[in-house]
């Protein structure tokens, strides 16, 4: 019997072009979607101009850009109210969902009593319940915050309950052998285990809370992006309408990015 060992060869060394290949790949990852977007904008611009579509039906990208240049203060004036409504709704709705999820996990009775109600509330379309909330809370800030909070609530509740229950059974045996108290199990085991679940819910909430705030503003408001959307639609100011829509989606992207950054900072595993 003979044993042969392969002689070490140069397989471990990287080709010299390796790094630049990586940079090229990363550039391509940015360039391809960006190029597609720019091309679509150009097609849109040319299409509108070529076929002479009236601006109030479909404005050209350049018209929308002109609004950003000329009416930027107007857009910002309406951006901040929606921003605050969304963020406050986000915090209130998610905080309530997390606390109720904790109560559900600690008491089967509380879960049995309140989960059907939570499901029922979730089945009511937000557009149907929004007028009721505006009637109850008036046309001010409160109604919009409540609507934004309500829309965040259910996905976070469901995810958080799952997250708190996601602890490996052997880990629970481990802490039982260490004679851990219920509070220690919660703070040291259950809560950290639930974080990945919580953040996937918060990512959903980051975009839906903006929807809630805007829907609230449609029903009755004189400021905010929702009000501006209604206003510019009825006045046939289509470039302003489009610009407002872009600002709204920008707000969602901003909140989503903030949640993603918070997730990267706190969930490192």
């Amino acid at each position: 019997m003979s044993v042969t060992e392969p002689t070490p060869s140069a397989t471990g060394s990287r080709p010299a072009g390796g790094v630049s290949d990586e940079v090229r790949l990363r550039l391509a990852n940015i360039a391809v979607p960006l190029g597609t977007a720019v091309t679509l904008l150009v097609v849109w611009q040319l299409g509108v101009r070529l076929f002479g579509v009236p601006t109030y039906i479909a404005p050209a990208p350049s018209d929308v850009l002109a609004v950003f240049r000329d009416d930027f203060p107007l857009l910002m004036r309406n951006f901040w109210p929606t921003f605050f409504e969304s963020v406050m709704g986000f915090f209130i709705g998610n905080t309530a969902a997390v606390l109720i999820a904790v109560a559900f996990v600690h008491s089967r009775l509380v879960e049995k009593a309140f989960f059907p109600i939570a499901v029922f509330i979730n089945t009511i379309p937000i557009l149907a319940i929004a007028p009721i909330l505006v009637l109850v809370f008036g046309a001010g800030l409160t109604a919009k915050v409540v609507i934004a909070a309500l829309i965040c609530f259910f996905p976070t509740l469901v995810n958080m309950v799952r997250g708190l229950q996601s602890v490996n059974p052997q880990t629970l045996e481990l802490v039982r052998i260490l004679s851990a108290s219920k509070a220690e199990i919660f703070w040291k085991i259950r809560l950290p285990s639930s974080l990945p679940f919580l953040f996937s819910a918060l990512k959903i909430a980051a975009t839906t809370c903006v929807i809630g705030a805007i829907v609230g503003e449609w029903i009755g408001a004189d400021k905010g992006l929702g009000a501006l959307i209604i206003d510019s639609t009825f006045n046939f100011r289509s470039p302003l309408l489009y610009a407002t829509v872009f600002v709204s989606s920008g707000l969602s992207v901003l909140l989503f990015t903030l949640v993603t950054l918070a997730e990267k900072a706190s969930v490192r595993w």
Binding site: Q170, E173, I177, L178, S179, E184, W269
Partner: protein
């Protein structure tokens, strides 16, 4: 020394192990475990003396894991009595007399290797629980299991074998007098397993702890154990206790000796009768 005297020693807080002769690390007297109508363990009588290394073998469903969970107060005995170092299992648990190593490393993924080893020291600290401190610090324990320099690594950055070694270090941090291991190397590849077997024997010699080690590998049971406890299933009962009496150091070469193979063959025959 009578059991009653030991129990009273345990009650007034004196260390049982220092009073005269060492009590059995674990003793089971007619212990049974029933889950509804299913009898997992029936009438187990056993004395595991301090400092011994026992391995437990048996067909699946014979109650190997149940036995460890019975000794570690995770499940109660339906009848009979179980004592760890002369104390009821609950008192032994509260005094951190034993530690458990599971088949999964069960590390907390958000904690570094070092922080995972420190977990037992944190549990109960704020409530004023008296936590026995081992001779070795968590850092020294990580060094003992060969993970020096990886203290800050998160579990997902470590291999399966490394995670299991962190789990062993965590089990040793309160210097348990009894170490319960439930197929700790079952999910590892053979080479890693061999290395960890040697390392475990070294830890056993250095710490002097008693070890109860469940496995489904006959060679592993013979290689590690001073005694092999063979259980049979339906219901789980003691089939045989085989003393492994092999001269010389326990090193890998031992596995090629005729004595080793004779023990394996004998255990295989016993297992087939189960």
């Amino acid at each position: 020394m009578s059991v009653r005297k030991l129990a009273s020693a345990a009650l007034d807080g004196t260390d049982v192990a220092t009073v005269g002769n060492l009590p059995a690390a674990a003793s089971l007297r007619g212990a049974s475990v029933k889950f509804g109508h299913f009898t997992a363990l029936s009438d187990i009588n056993l004395d595991i003396m301090a400092g011994e290394f026992w391995t437990i073998l048996g067909p699946s469903g014979c109650g190997k894991s149940t036995m460890l969970r019975l000794v570690s107060d995770l499940i109660p005995a339906s009848s009979g009595e179980v004592r760890v170092l002369g104390k009821p299992t609950e008192a032994a648990r509260l005094a951190r007399e034993f530690a458990f190593v599971f088949q999964d490393a069960t590390l907390l993924p958000w904690r570094s290797a070092l922080k995972n080893v420190e977990l037992p020291l944190e549990i109960g600290r704020k409530r004023g629980v008296k936590i026995p401190l081992g001779e070795r610090t968590p850092r020294e324990l990580l060094k003992l299991v060969g993970l020096e320099g990886r203290e800050d690594a998160l579990p997902h950055e470590l291999s399966g074998g490394m995670c299991q070694r962190v789990a062993i270090a965590r089990a040793l941090v309160c210097q348990p007098k009894l170490l319960l291991m439930d197929e700790p190397f079952g999910a590892l590849d053979e080479m890693t397993r061999d290395r960890l077997n040697l390392q475990l024997l070294q830890i056993w010699r250095e710490t002097g702890t008693t070890i109860l080690f469940v496995t489904h590998s006959i060679p592993e049971a013979v290689f590690l154990g001073q005694k092999v406890l063979m259980l049979r299933a339906h219901p789980g009962r003691v089939k045989a206790i085989v003393d492994i009496d092999m001269p010389g150091a326990r090193e890998m070469r031992l596995r090629e000796t005729p004595a080793f193979n004779r023990y394996c063959a004998r255990l295989r025959d016993l297992l087939e009768e189960c």
